[in-house]
Amino acid sequence: MSDVDTKIELATDSAMDITSPENDNNKTTATATSSSETQTTEDILKTETQKQKDDFYLRYYVGHKGKYGHEFLEFEFRSGNKLRYANNSHYKSENLIRKEVCVSDGVISEIKKVILDSGIMLEDDKNWPEPDVVGKQELEIVFKDEHISFSTTKIGSLMDVEKSDDPEGLKVMFYLIQDLKCLVFSLIGLHFKIKPI
């Protein structure tokens, strides 16, 4: 540090002492407060990081393009426990249905349980029938550090499942989708008092 810098620093200190006799106490308090704030911020960041690791996302889409335009059903559970539901058809001047609601942690926990119990995270769609003119299904799930994004054609019945190259895996998807739709239809139907389909 140069002499000039030292002089400036000393001058600044003395000026502070003149204007504020309790300067030393203030300094201590400020340091303590700052330290406390840092600690709190660290805690918040730690909690937030943990929360992010446990983040959860689910999206299911089923649809096709045909005589009545693009008809589809899609629902999504996003961060912040948001459930979004969309049902689209122009059949006999049907209106679009777009609903959104926040569900409780209990609902999200139940969905996670349904997903884990199903075993879908262990499956792969490489041997499933590809989307075709009949339609398309998409299932996307992020759960902790796993991310699946499956797509296949519409499944009419268990007969379609049995005929596929991976009947066991497709059966997991088939039943999981039914269970998820059942829960979502209950949530949307009761909350908004609409027939979801």
């Binding site: 999206r59 889409y61 948001k82 792969d124 991310h147």
Partner: protein, 187 residues
């Protein structure tokens, strides 16, 4: 970085905030699907306007949210052989049940393990949550909570779209646009 590697890293930024799984499993991870229907088309214009019951954003975040006709609670940890009358016997004590959904497991045919119960008054639902939580039914302790809560004010702010792991495609020249303003309304 190759296209495939880039695709594997693409995900809803507001959700994952940079903490991403190292790999996406499934054919949805690549863009080769010729039948790919872009979400921007699905939710363009009024198609992206979602209706919720707390649009005013006046309530505090995380508070119980009233449904159209009543207050709905969510019951978990229900033993698989429990049936609707069993739940009715317990929860009718706290008030008149307007609706009950006890869904079944599609594979087994047994109860799935959760139920939604609707009461007309908030006080009744609160009693059910307070007294029903921890109630032992068929050897399992029930867990009871609200089904719906108030969200952020941003919950229904304008046009929103479903997220996807795929890149946005430019659909300006897409002739398969089935949307028209006719018959569409904002809820």
């Amino acid at each position: 970085m190759t296209d495939k590697e880039e695709v594997e890293k693409i995900y809803t930024k507001d959700l994952r905030k940079g903490i991403l799984p190292s790999k996406i499993k499934g054919r949805g991870a690549n863009n080769s699907d010729s039948m790919d229907i872009d979400s921007s088309e699905r939710y363009s214009g009024k198609g992206g306007e979602f209706h919720s019951l707390n649009d005013d954003g006046g309530d505090k975040v995380g508070e119980p949210l009233k449904s159209i006709e009543g207050w709905i609670i969510f019951v978990r940890n229900i033993q698989e052989e429990v049936q609707e009358p069993d739940l009715m016997d317990i929860f009718a004590e706290y008030g008149q049940i307007k609706n009950i959904h006890l869904n079944i497991d599609r594979r087994t045919g047994f109860t799935k393990g959760y139920a939604l119960i609707e009461y007309e008054k908030r006080s009744e639902a609160e009693d059910a949550i307070k007294n029903g939580s921890g109630y032992e039914l068929a050897g399992l302790k029930l867990s009871v909570d609200w089904a719906f809560i108030t969200g952020n004010a941003s919950l229904s702010s304008g046009v929103v779209s479903f997220k996807s792991n795929r890149k946005d495609k430019n659909n300006s020249n897409n002739s398969n646009n089935y949307r028209s303003n006719k018959g569409e309304r904002r809820f």
